[in-house]
């Protein structure tokens, strides 16, 4: 893992987020930097604002503070950023196949008013192969298992040639075996110098898989290497009810 | 005493219209409150449209039995309640047993039953028997035709609705709040759902002839969301919804008779909508201050 890449894929400074017309913040003063080629885990209790954090970073929610992607703004680096949504936010009955979803990662390169060519399909197949889904390319996404569905979205991110992956609870509702498979895929990507920010719910698994931890509960309770950020004290603080 | 006697003599018809619509608004608001809380407001859209074939069938049946030239009200109401129930059941079935979403279920059921109803009505127009005049009033309503027996019917229905809601209030609230939790507590969810459905159909069928098909949907939804803007507490919301429903009807009836001859059903809906708009503006202003 080379550390010469001096440009951090993501750096967040004093990020705060509150829903409109309410004074209480859902998130407060979060600053952190993700180094290239690392996996950062975002942990915290339910309602801690993990998804809100991800959505604020991606400008999907109004927020204060600054977010820098690579050398500039989100608009300048869209291609390099991949977002993998929470399982519950996807309509699994939608009439698209695994290949169709993977192809979506190529759309910006295909451009407006152009049709999807055979070459594009072959390229998309190549990315599906990387996540070992080539045999399922023409299945409707709802007909895939939970782990396969996550891998389809990973393939879309690969097709997009993303450098930074933002994943919202990829392990939710996925069995142990598939979890191992997905974590293998993540460390594989890490070897290739990709950067990942993963929302995760399981504290136990955290130390083994993440280089850096953000422990959230409306504010940043702790951050750093797993053993350091996940001290008993920090966990108690994150998981105890906040005083008003 | 003078006022009362003048109401009963000079303004006899107007008095009936006032009370009848107010009672309808009250019970519609009350029921609508639970529909809105359950996020199922538009079920009323499908159910209301599903009454139309029932009216056609009821007309044909009462014609067949030689009752009141085809407009035997109990039979019309019974048949429309049955098809309304079928409509609700169809929405439930499509939502629960197929991959289609609730909105698609509502829109398709609504258009199917409405199409069927219009077909029956257009066949009835071709029959050389019965008194067809006024069948169309079910679509747009006819307040002026209200008589003392309509008032008695509406009074009985509202009394029944209010009693039923008060007696089942805890269950209804729990059902709206969290269906799964209600199930866990051993509440008979299915029964409570059916009670709510039954009450809704009752209100819709008795209200049809008064304010018309589209307007009854408005009376179920608009007062309830207006109440929602004022309070978070469910008891208060139910009471407010009933109040706003009654107020909309009284205001609408008054305006429509005071200003030229505005169609009453529409005026009631627009009055209800105006109440809602004012409430929304007040809420936004208050929200900005807080």
């Amino acid at each position: 893992m080379s550390m010469d890449n001096t440009i951090a894929p993501l750096s967040v400074k004093d990020l705060s987020c509150r829903y409109t017309r309410q004074n209480n913040y859902a998130l407060r003063d979060i600053s952190f930097t993700a180094k290239a080629g690392t996996i950062t885990g975002v942990l915290g209790p339910n309602g801690a604002g993990k998804s809100t954090f991800l959505k604020s970073i991606l400008d999907l929610l109004p927020h204060e503070g600054s977010v820098k992607f690579f050398d500039g703004t989100l608009a300048k680096n869209r291609q390099k950023i991949a977002y993998i949504p929470q399982r519950s936010s996807v309509d699994w009955d939608f009439p698209v196949s695994a290949l169709d979803v993977c192809l979506m990662g190529l759309y910006p390169r295909i451009g407006w008013l152009r049709r999807i060519s055979k070459a594009h399909k072959e390229e998309a197949m190549h990315y599906l192969e990387q996540v070992k889904l080539q045999d399922f390319a023409h299945r409707q996404i709802g007909a895939l298992s939970g782990g396969q569905q996550q891998r389809v979205f990973m393939a879309r991110a690969l097709a997009q040639q993303a450098e930074l992956f933002l994943l919202d609870e990829p392990m939710a509702g996925v069995d142990q075996k598939t979890q191992t498979l997905l974590f293998d895929l993540f460390s594989d990507l890490k070897q290739k110098g990709k950067t990942m920010l993963i929302i995760h719910h399981n504290l136990q698994a955290a130390s083994a898989h993440f280089d850096h931890i953000l422990l959230l509960n409306q504010t940043l309770v702790a951050q750093g290497a797993p053993e350091q950020a996940l001290s008993e004290d920090a966990i108690n603080r994150a998981y105890s009810p906040i005083e008003a | 005493m003078d006022i009362i006697s003048s109401l009963l003599t000079e303004h006899y018809n107007a008095t009936i219209v006032f009370f009848a619509t107010a009672l309808l608004g009250l019970s519609a608001g009350l029921i609508g409150c639970f529909l809105v809380l359950r996020k199922q407001a538009l079920i009323s859209d499908a159910v209301t449209h599903a009454t139309l074939p029932g009216i056609g069938i009821g007309f044909l049946l009462s014609l067949h039995f030689g009752l009141n030239d085809g407009k035997y009200l109990p039979l019309l109401l019974l048949c429309s309640a049955i098809t309304a129930y079928l409509g609700a059941a169809a929405v439930q079935f499509i939502t629960n047993k197929t991959r289609l979403s609730p909105d698609t279920a509502i829109a398709s059921v609504m258009s199917f039953f409405y199409g069927l109803g219009l077909l029956l009505l257009s066949i009835i127009q071709n029959i050389d028997a019965g008194n067809k005049a006024g069948l169309n009033s079910f679509l747009l309503g006819q307040v002026s035709g209200l008589r003392i027996d309509n008032l008695i019917l509406l009074g009985a229905v509202s009394l029944f609705v209010v009693c039923a809601v008060v007696m089942n209030f805890k269950n209804l609230r729990l059902l709206c709040f969290d269906k799964n939790y209600a199930n866990l507590l051993g509440l008979k969810v299915k029964t409570t759902e059916n009670i709510l459905l039954f009450l809704m159909i009752l209100v819709i069928c008795t209200g049809l002839k008064t304010v018309g098909l589209i307007m009854i949907i408005a009376l179920l939804i608009i007062p309830a969301i207006t109440a929602r803007l004022w309070t978070e507490r469910s008891e208060l919301m139910a009471a407010l919804a009933a109040f706003f429903g009654a107020l909309s009807c009284i205001g609408g009836v008054y305006l429509s008779s005071a200003l030229y001859d505005l169609p009453t059903g529409s005026t009631i809906v627009l009055f209800a909508f105006a109440l809602f708009a004012v409430s929304l503006v007040i809420r936004i202003i208050r929200g900005a201050d807080a």
Binding site: V90, P95 | V36, I94, T98, L100, S266
Partner: protein, 295 residues
């Protein structure tokens, strides 16, 4: 007999064909994005716009009517949005409040003096009047009914739009969040679709009434939804189902009573709605993969 067919049934069939194809194509997007009730809202909300359009133009000028209807449909959509986001009211309830109020306003305009000055029949708008369109000489271009021209133009616009932006539409309807992050202006697609849907709703319901419009928009698209798992087949299948139901529906309404020996005319719009619904029922019951008896 043949003359009568060409003058009355032929134009009606052309209208039914164009309308069913248009509605099915656009309806698929409503069904896919779970916004089917939107068409309910739009088709009822255009009423005041139509009345105002007729009032302003002094006659039934298609451009004024379309402009009026589009304006009121967009006002309705905007109100639904405002109620949802500022009033924190659930979408269904917001739609119910808006469309009933707009419809009431339309009826109010029609039934008062405003309405009596213009030539617009409430019944006509609600239930359509397919039977009333006629094409004096189908071999003569200039006598083509305006409704056919309007629908043909709308069909060309819709098909061009769908073909040109097919992949973007797939992306923005399936995963709007991802599309936004990728820099697509998803709202532009939503608005364009809504504008097209409003125009088609008016274009059709002038010919066929406001209820048939809802049936043609939703039932064939929902039936196709029960049968297939691909976007292209969804669009094509819904088109064919819609076309089949509409044409058989119209023909049954025109011919069946006569064949059965009844001397009556039935409202063809309602029969078409009924047939579309039956098409959906068959798909729900008999779909090999997702039907009630599948598995």
């Amino acid at each position: 007999m043949l003359d009568q067919f060409f003058i009355i049934d032929f134009p009606a069939l052309v209208i039914v064909t164009l309308a069913s194809i248009l509605c099915a194509l656009l309806g698929s997007f409503l069904v896919l994005t779970k916004q089917a009730v939107m068409i309910d809202a739009i088709s009822h909300s255009v009423l005041p716009g139509i009345v105002v359009g007729v009032l302003l133009s002094g006659s039934f000028s298609i451009l004024y009517v379309m402009a009026g209807a589009l304006t009121s449909a967009l006002i309705a959509v905007l109100l639904v949005y405002v109620f949802q986001h500022w009033g924190k009211i659930e979408q269904g309830a917001a739609i119910g409040a808006v469309f009933t109020a707009m419809f009431a306003f339309g009826v109010l305009l029609l039934e008062t003096q405003v309405g009596s000055r213009i030539h617009l029949d409430t019944q006509h708008v609600l239930y359509g009047a397919l039977e009333l369109t006629y094409w004096a000489n189908p071999f003569e271009w200039s006598s083509m009914p305006t409704q056919i021209k309007t629908l043909a133009v709308l069909l060309i616009i819709t098909v061009v739009f769908l073909l040109a932006f097919f992949k973007e539409l797939r992306l923005t309807t399936f995963d709007p969040t991802y599309a936004r992050i990728m820099g697509y202006k998803t709202y532009l697609f939503q608005i364009t679709l809504l504008v097209l849907i409003s125009l088609v709703a008016v274009g059709c319901f002038e010919a066929t009434g406001s209820i048939l419009v809802i049936a043609l928009f939703i039932c064939p698209a929902a039936a196709a939804r029960m049968l297939c798992d691909q976007m292209t087949s969804q669009l094509l299948l819904s088109m064919f189902i819609g076309l089949f139901c509409a044409v058989t529906g119209y023909l049954s309404s025109a011919l069946l009573p006569m064949w059965l020996g009844f001397d009556m005319t039935v409202n063809s719009a309602s029969v078409i709605a009924l047939f579309s619904g039956i098409g959906l029922i068959i798909a729900i019951i008999a779909s090999p993969k997702y039907g009630t008896f599948a598995k």
